[in-house]
């Protein structure tokens, strides 16, 4: 199912489809291991729709909610 990273629930895994962010941020995220076709797992979501903690490549990465809204993912069962 296609959705955004921001809409994933805690504990869900997904694969990244597309990142609608400007090149600078995209490059930064990619260097950290977040790029189309990489897998991620949502570890924790800060209260009040806050930042999202994901596991990517075995390491925890925190991302602001508004950035996560622009990352399209496919949720895996």
């Amino acid at each position: 199912m296609n959705t955004t990273l921001a809409r994933l629930d805690k504990g869900k895994t997904a694969v990244i489809k597309e990142m609608n962010l400007d090149n600078n941020i995209k490059r930064r995220l990619m260097a950290l291991g977040l790029l189309p076709s990489s897998f991620l797992k949502v570890l924790r979501i800060a209260p009040f729709k806050g930042a999202i903690l994901i596991d990517v490549g075995g390491c925890p990465l925190a991302i602001s909610h508004d950035l996560a809204e622009k990352i399209l993912v496919e949720e895996l069962e």
Binding site: L21, D22, N23, N24, I25, K26, R27, R28, L29, M30, A31, L32, G33, L35, S38, R44, A46, P47, F48, K49, G50, A51, L53, G57, G58, C59, P60, L61, A62, I63, S64, H65, D66, L67, K70
Partner: protein
């Protein structure tokens, strides 16, 4: 023979600063949050009877800089090429470390990898085949545990061996775009000096790296490159359907991922229940409560234990000084002696305990890995101002000292977030201002009022941050949080003590001597009757605005040198007890003004260095304005209550 220059580089939180400390006598602050080494340091080192120069680079994820600290580091590395690079790789963050290795190899400098946090990786169930990693990358890899000093000897030995050899390493070939790279290389080769890595420059041109593009435009005086670069970039875009910069990152990333999977096995391990529960609690809704509890505890402990120390120290001081009773008739000599005595008393009993206690508790917190979690939690609130959670770290450091906090703003991406965060830092009560709050409010009015002052200050800081953030139009996606979360670690007392000393020693060496000199100076002014003139001159202004006597201006002037001087000279001039001269309300107003009125000299110098003069002047202006508004509003409120 010239000494070998070794560059030390690594991704944030790889334990690079710990290795740096093992190699040098001097102590650099190590903490458990991303981005500690914010300035490049070059240092002559003697280690195991070997002499070399060690260059410490700030932690960086990639050689494509996104924050100012990364940009500074990279430019330094290209322009002042080390003979060999020690890359501190994190065994628990292998993929990102390998990514950086791949980029570093492109620079054409011999590199050796310290695979650090090896013990922690084993604990987390990561089994890494070191030999294979070394073979795949084509560079030596030494497993290390920096905290315990394991593997460091071998690392240095190997690095020195490598220094004069040719750079090795299996550099990535970007097959899809090789003709384009070669074409650009053949052109820039004609004007690019030999000391610069040719292929790397070609790649960075394709990536549209601002610094490299600028450099090439400068060097390409005959405009040989012309529009060829644009044509090649367009070609790449069309043929691969991807921007060249993203294509290159993608390439490196997939190689890093592939290597990681080849050399690393993951075994399931049961994590420590305690750590896991703590982690769970610290970033759930309960975490906000925890944050308040943690911060309040730090302040209450500092003030509470500080008061205990103060009483003891004062008792000892009086017992000692009663042994030396002089009868002095000369007023000038008397003034000098009593000035020295008073300032020593204030220095020892007010300043030393509070500063040391605060830095000790804060260091424990710093080492534990709690701060990035607080940053994660607070991200949403910071986004409202237009900043992100990471800005929380320099802001929190601001409670210690504004100077390193302002330098730490470099970990933020973008000029505007840096400006707004630096502004907020100058308004946050640092340890010096904590001494004022402690010495005036906690002692003479009460701990609760002292905490209330902190809360009020926080409110003002957030309000100003929000107003200024809005007016410079901060809120955009480029300021969003992207941060790797380090693991929790049990803080070591020894480490915290070292760090406390490193952070607080200035108060002993610099502040106390100036305090003694300043107090004597003020005492002499008093005897000569100059203070009275000053009072008469400024009384109308200060009484009208803040309900304060004009002589407080002299304390504020001294406070601009170091904030705690405002308190010290107030107390020493008023012969020990301000309550004989000022009402509690006046004390509160005075304290509020000192919180906001101006960045101290050291902070101002730092701000000019970091943000340039114009922005520094704006910050000073906002500081003054805030102090005047807060002070006069408080005065009006007290008048009518």
């Amino acid at each position: 023979m010239k000494e070998v220059r070794i560059g030390l580089i690594g991704i944030p939180n790889s334990g690079k600063s710990t290795i740096f400390n093992k190699l040098t006598e001097t102590y650099q602050i190590v903490g458990n949050w991303p981005g500690k080494t914010v300035e490049t340091v070059e240092r002559a080192v003697k280690f195991n009877d070997k002499h070399f120069i060690l260059i410490d680079f700030p932690g960086t994820q990639t050689l494509t800089p996104t924050s100012m600290e990364e940009e500074i580091a990279r430019e330094y590395m290209i322009e002042n090429k080390p003979n060999v690079i020690i890359q501190v790789a994190s065994a628990i963050d292998l993929e990102r470390s390998i990514y950086l290795s791949l980029e570093l190899m492109e620079l054409g400098i011999p590199i050796i990898i310290a695979l650090n946090q090896f013990d922690e990786a084993i604990k987390q169930g990561f089994e890494i085949n070191v030999e294979k990693l070394s073979k795949v990358l084509g560079v030596p890899v030494i497993p290390t545990v920096a905290m315990k000093g394991e593997g460091i000897d071998k690392l240095v030995e190997k690095a020195l061996d490598l220094a004069h050899s040719k750079p090795k390493g299996n550099i990535i070939t970007y097959e899809d775009i090789m003709p384009q790279i070669n074409n650009i290389m053949s052109i820039i080769k004609e004007f690019l000096p030999d000391r610069y890595p040719l292929e790397w420059f070609a790649l960075k041109l394709l990536e549209e790296d601002p610094w490299v593009t600028r450099k090439i435009t400068e060097l390409d005086t005959e405009k040989r490159l012309g529009d060829i670069l644009e044509k090649e970039k367009d070609y790449v875009k069309k043929s691969t359907n991807m921007h060249p910069s993203l294509l290159l990152v993608n390439n490196r990333r997939s190689v890093a991922e592939k290597i990681t999977n080849e050399v690393r096995k993951i075994k399931p391990v049961s994590k420590s229940k305690f750590i896991e529960t703590l982690d769970l609690l610290s970033i759930s809704s309960f975490g906000y409560l925890l944050l308040i509890v943690v911060m309040t505890t730090v302040f209450v402990l500092t003030f509470g234990v500080g008061l205990l120390f103060r009483d003891t120290i004062q008792l000892i001081f009086f017992a000692l000084s009663s042994q030396f009773v002089f009868v002095i008739t000369d007023p000038l000599l008397n003034a000098i002696l009593s000035g020295v005595q008073l300032s020593l008393l204030v220095g020892l009993s007010f300043i030393i305990p509070v500063v040391f206690l605060f830095h000790f508790f804060f260091s424990l917190l710093d080492d534990s890995g709690y701060l990035p979690r607080a940053a994660f939690l607070i991200d949403k609130a910071m986004r409202k101002i237009g900043l992100n959670g990471k800005a929380f770290i320099p802001l929190l450091l601001g409670y210690g000292c504004s100077v390193p906090a302002c330098v730490t703003c470099r970990i933020l991406e973008g000029d505007k977030p840096r400006f707004v965060t630096a502004l907020m830092i100058t308004l946050i009560p640092c340890a010096s201002r904590m001494i004022i709050i402690y010495g005036l409010i906690a002692i003479y009015i009460g701990i609760i009022t002292a905490l209330a002052i902190y809360l009020f200050n926080l409110f003002v800081v957030l309000l100003i941050g929000m107003v200024v953030g809005r007016s410079v139009n901060l809120n955009c996606e480029s300021t969003g949080l992207i941060m790797v979360l380090p693991p929790y670690r049990v803080p070591l007392i020894k480490n915290a003590l070292r760090k406390t000393w490193a952070r607080a020693k200035d108060f002993v060496y610099i502040a106390i001597p100036i305090i003694i000199a300043g107090t004597v100076f003020l005492k002499i002014l008093e005897i000569l009757g100059i203070m009275e003139h000053l009072n008469l001159l400024f009384d109308p202004l200060f009484l009208g605005l803040f309900g304060l006597p004009g002589y407080v201006l002299s304390f504020l002037l001294f406070g601009a040198i170091r904030k705690e001087f405002a308190l010290v000279f107030l107390v020493t001039t008023l012969n020990g007890n301000p309550l004989f001269y000022l009402s509690p309300n006046q004390i509160i107003i005075f304290t509020l003004i000192t919180l906001f009125y101006i960045p101290c000299v050291a902070t101002t110098v730092t701000l000019i260095k970091e943000l340039r003069l114009r922005k520094t002047l704006i910050i000073i202006g906002i500081n003054l304005l805030t102090a005047i508004i807060v002070g006069s509003v408080a005065h009006i409120i007290f008048l009518f209550s």
